[in-house]
Symmetry: C2
Subunit: 101 residues, 2 copies
DNA sequence: TTAAAATATGAACAAATAAACATATGTTAA
DNA sequence: TTAACATATGTTTATTTGTTCATATTTTAA
């Protein structure tokens, strides 16, 4: 019973959470909670440059937090699976609980 | 319906996930999943320096992921609440799901 | 109170990374 | 094919951060 995980799994897990550990990406994810959005939509809403948003979307997509779909000139992004929602809400609950104390 | 969150909440949430975004801290948290541990225990198990573990434990404690209890010369650390377990397991599920594809 | 054990803290350094800027790629319509 | 729109990709820079080393606290036992 040395370890219940592999070195690789721990590394991947840390990498995953690192993705959530940036306010810009959290905002992007929140924006997509109930709507599919294209890059320009996001850049407009969050007052960010197109380049910056695109860079972050690539990171989000690589780690499977977000998926994309092309429609003409635009590419629509949305949350990839339900884990993303759960992780976000668990995190938010933890934050809020801390506020009360 | 501009935003469903405050700037501050997003910042706090990102800070929280940033804590999970480090392999060393993940290992420390995993080690405490089913046992209260003191600094030296952790340092020994994870082959880390005492100083490094202590620094990380302070970070974990500050963000309320871990709590401590003194017993003589030792200080025992354990997970602070259930959210920590949920967040870890959701993350792990996401990782595992990605493996299958 | 002095020594030893356990833990914490401060400073310095190297590695990781987000944003900005410039440019490239891909898609549609004329 | 060409122009214009939408998105992606390099590169550089400034900031953040984990570890190490040295040192400081705190607690217990002699």
């Amino acid at each position: 019973m040395e370890e219940t995980y592999t070195e690789k799994a721990v590394g991947n897990l840390a990498e995953l959470f690192k993705i959530f550990g940036d306010a810009t990406r959290i905002k992007i994810l929140y924006a997509m909670l109930d709507a599919e959005l294209c890059v320009n939509d996001i850049a407009g809403r969050l007052q960010m440059s197109q380049s910056s948003v695109s860079h972050q979307l690539r990171i989000l997509k690589t780690s499977k937090l977000v998926k994309s779909r092309r429609e003409g000139k635009s590419i629509f992004y949305s949350l990839d699976d339900e884990h993303v929602r759960f992780i976000l809400s668990m995190g938010m609950e933890h934050i809020m609980e801390g506020e009360e104390k």
